[in-house]
Symmetry: none
Subunit: 130 residues, 4 copies
Amino acid sequence: MTSILLDEGQGVVQAAMEKAREIGQPMNVAVEDNGRYLKAFARMEDAWLGSIDIAIDKAFTSASFVMPTQEMTQPGQPLYGLEATNNGRVVIFTGGIPLMRDGEVAGAIGMSGGTVDQDQKVAEAGIAAF
Amino acid sequence: MTSILLDEGQGVVQAAMEKAREIGQPMNVAVEDNGRYLKAFARMEDAWLGSIDIAIDKAFTSASFVMPTQEMTQPGQPLYGLEATNNGRVVIFTGGIPLMRDGEVAGAIGMSGGTVDQDQKVAEAGIAAF
Amino acid sequence: MTSILLDEGQGVVQAAMEKAREIGQPMNVAVEDNGRYLKAFARMEDAWLGSIDIAIDKAFTSASFVMPTQEMTQPGQPLYGLEATNNGRVVIFTGGIPLMRDGEVAGAIGMSGGTVDQDQKVAEAGIAAF
Amino acid sequence: MTSILLDEGQGVVQAAMEKAREIGQPMNVAVEDNGRYLKAFARMEDAWLGSIDIAIDKAFTSASFVMPTQEMTQPGQPLYGLEATNNGRVVIFTGGIPLMRDGEVAGAIGMSGGTVDQDQKVAEAGIAAF
């Protein structure tokens, strides 16, 4: 029973969206289970279309490596080229966070639509509801 | 204001899932807007993983051609080969229905997880909530 | 100077669209050159989104094999599976016609948005303008 | 009625091509609607084949994030890796500009074939005709 349940996932999505409304930035919000599969998703009015895939793939990336997405690699550093793996679904910048339960990965949230800081804040609000 | 709003899409998803629970068949439920972009999605516990893409792509197909997905073609009939178009995202069997508003397409619902009859019934329950 | 010029391609597109308006069916119209590369394209209001790729790929298919798209193959016949080649861009039903100049291929037109018969009529109107 | 109409899109394409002729640089010109779908396209004689996709994808990028394409990111900066998202269709250099109507995105123009400065000038000429 480690993996996130639908009710939990929908709660995470709603909490994230409330934060996004509070800061006035429309967002795409995705929650995936611990198998990297989409569980719940919502796109707010006027959220960027280019952010649908990014939100889903940030959750995918966080669940893939059980860590927050962040500046994962750069030219000259180890793992350079990581974003080309997994059919190009790895996102190497901020906005995805794993959902942990009793020390194990239960899933992940991915967020896209604002600046890197806004995405991070909204993702944290989602995590707090888990 | 033709395209479906998030609140509406989430309502459609919830209504479809209630029906799926009633008939005891876990489902993936997707609602897309009139641009074929994902608006709301939910996957019930134990719903087939193979049905995530099918649900999303049934909504994509219904919004693409503004008609229910159905037995769209068969060998020997016109349009044979249709399922190979649009990067293989066209689903040519039952389970997707357009969401219409004032005679124009507002989006579409796609459903996958049960038999063709079950998918259709659940999709109709979603439509009824729109 | 065999390959179609832009002015010619735009003329073909306009002629096809006039026919589509005459029969009251919104269409996507694509003209490609003899290298199978997009030269001119137009999408009429309310034309199916699912037909953008189909129109472009019908022109691609016609220019690829220098013949009209049509019921090119079926289960049990030679070339079964043809639609899976060329990265899935081969369309094996009606609506694409080569544009010929002095017995050589100059390009192709592809049409999508109506029934097979409507697509064919509109494609022929485009060809007639070449 | 926010999204760009075909007549408008064709006017934008023609205006851009006139500018391209004036500066003597053959170009690919794409106009997409506010759903990132191709509305009108033209390729001038001798325009680079490699620029077809770039023109279309610059329009896609501008409509995706409702901002001009530009030097969006570089190694060491936030969003590094952005170009790998959306199936590799994000173009992170100059040449795409959103088409705005009453403060909302109506679509976008994308241009490719010359230097970054030439592309920008031609794109602006297209925008001016909207």
